[in-house]
């Protein structure tokens, strides 16, 4: 059986007629008891299991997923990875994820196709250029890469941008993060799943967690469709369904769930180099490796668990696209879809112990869950293994909504929700 992926194994399997590949992970029956159970088999849940085994030697772990691996927001996002935030706490968190992404394909022996093609956030006026300079300064002080681009430098990268003198949102320049990029979303979930499985972690799909086992005021496991699974600690990584699970555990969260939609065009020849975001339109886009133009924007402003987008938000995103790239008016859309995102009042994640002892939270990523997968997994694993915060996750504790020490990235970096 071929276990390790490499150019050599691909060559050998080619000669053998591809008959020697092993399944990437097992399909085990759940045991009665684990040291830790992770609820949610998306990127964050699978990464948590992987880092529990790798960083902390805790291998008696199960990931319990109600659907299929990566079938939630991990498979529904626009795959952009960046750390262009304003506050030091945020850059520490998202740049940690970006650094882990930079070595992820090698670490997991799975090509996640991380392509660091850079991201430009365009400024549309002199005043916005001043804010852009402030963001660049903040990012550099916080220790991540950032550069202020003039209009020529933006257009050199994206010559198809709307440079008409009648453009509603003209290009004055922009914030450039060269290490930002895109990755293959399924590969991130599958890569973590395969690497976790190799270290003995049980990945249990098609098994919905219906409640929590509470003994002496402590979370002692989960109740699933397939029976009770006892656990020393439980991690919750269920994104847009966090409030529903929290209600089963008896507490509320500062989260509202919305649909976030995205769409892709038919594939066309290479015409875009980078990821482009217009704060003016709220639309961002890039060209996938297959040639499709991948387009996203802000959330649908109707509380929802529907995992589908409403027409008004789609219309807004697409009208923004045409303002930015008039040449794309001829493109045909191939697919449109939506994920169910967990939005907090300060647009920052919630990481830390929950009000129910023994249950730990990884949620509130809102529209930024995919880019944070390695960090979210690393930090939740730390919380479960040590029972206390990593220094990077501490500012994102649930208690900030009581102390008032919010990490307000909606104001800091102008997140669109």
């Amino acid at each position: 059986m071929t276990r390790r992926y490499s150019a050599f194994s691909l060559f050998v399997e080619g000669l053998r007629g591809q008959t020697g590949w092993a399944p990437a992970w097992r399909t085990p029956k759940p045991k009665a008891q684990y040291d830790a159970v992770i609820v949610g088999g998306g990127g964050h849940g699978l990464a948590t299991a992987y880092y529990l085994a790798k960083n902390h030697g805790i291998r008696n772990v199960a990931v319990v997923e109600k659907g299929w691996l990566g079938g939630g927001n991990t498979g529904r996002n626009t795959t952009t990875i960046r750390s262009n935030y304003f506050y030091p706490e945020s850059v520490a968190l998202y740049d940690f994820a970006l650094r882990l992404y930079e070595g992820l394909s090698r670490e997991l022996n799975y090509n996640v196709m991380f392509s660091q093609r850079g991201l430009v956030t365009v400024a549309h006026s002199e005043a916005e250029m001043e804010i852009a300079a402030r963001v660049v300064n903040a990012m550099q002080i916080n220790g991540t890469d950032a550069e202020l681009l003039g209009p020529e430098e933006v257009l050199k990268r994206e010559p198809l941008l709307n440079m008409s003198d009648r453009a509603r949102f003209p290009v004055f320049g922009g914030v450039w993060q060269g290490r930002a990029g895109v990755a293959r979303h399924d590969a991130v979930a599958w890569g973590y799943a395969r690497a976790a499985d190799r270290m003995g972690i049980d990945i249990i799909q098609d098994c919905e967690v219906e409640g929590f086992l509470v003994e002496d005021g402590r979370c002692a496991g989960v109740e699933t469709a397939g029976g009770t699974i006892r656990a020393g600690a439980v991690g919750l990584a269920v994104a847009g369904h966090s409030s529903v699970m929290a209600a089963k555990a008896g507490f509320g969260l500062p989260i509202q769930s919305y649909s976030l939609q995205a769409m892709v065009s038919e594939p066309v020849k290479p015409c875009m180099e980078t990821v482009v975001l217009y704060p003016g339109t709220g639309t961002y886009l890039f060209q996938s490796d297959k040639g499709e133009i991948v387009v996203g924007g802000g959330i649908d402003r109707v509380p929802s668990y529907a995992q589908r987008g409403n027409p008004p938000a789609q219309r807004q995103v697409l009208s923004g696209l045409l303002e930015m790239f008039p040449a794309f008016g001829q493109l045909k859309l191939m697919r449109q879809w939506a994920g169910n995102v967990d939005v907090t009042p300060d647009s920052s994640a919630v990481l830390g112990p929950s009000p129910l002892p023994g249950l730990y939270l990884n949620c509130g990523w809102g529209t930024g869950g995919f880019k944070s997968i390695p960090a979210g997994g690393w930090l939740l694993a730390h919380l479960i293994a040590k029972g206390e915060h990593h220094e990077i996750s501490r500012p994102f504790d649930l208690s900030r909504f009581m102390t008032g020490r919010l990490v307000d990235e909606a104001a800091g970096s102008g997140i669109a929700h």
Binding site: S243, I255, Q256, R301, V302, S304, N310, P312, P345, F401
Partner: protein, 88 residues
């Protein structure tokens, strides 16, 4: 395009409406005796149900706030009701 019904103006395009908050929250009083936990819960904790939901919406066009009952899974609207003269 979905139509929401304003109790004052009738059915209108969803883009004319703004989601304000979940219904049924009561501001804890008196302010001097409210614990940080209770105040934080009032400000930030949301029930955020997946399914039937009672919500306060604003019809931005006429400015009126009202109660709307809808389903967050199916987006079906059960009805809307004026808030004037009653507690949600």
């Amino acid at each position: 395009m979905q139509l929401f019904s304003c109790p004052f103006c009738g059915p209108r395009d969803e883009t004319e409406f703004h989601f304000a908050a979940e219904a049924g929250k009561t501001r804890p009083e008196p302010a001097g005796e409210v614990s940080p936990e209770a105040w934080s819960g009032y400000l930030y904790a949301k029930s955020n149900p997946g399914g039937p939901s009672r919500e306060i919406w604003q019809h931005v066009t006429c400015g009126e706030f009202f109660l709307m009952e809808r389903d967050t899974l199916t987006h079906e609207v059960a009805g809307s009701k004026a808030l004037r003269g009653q507690r949600p």
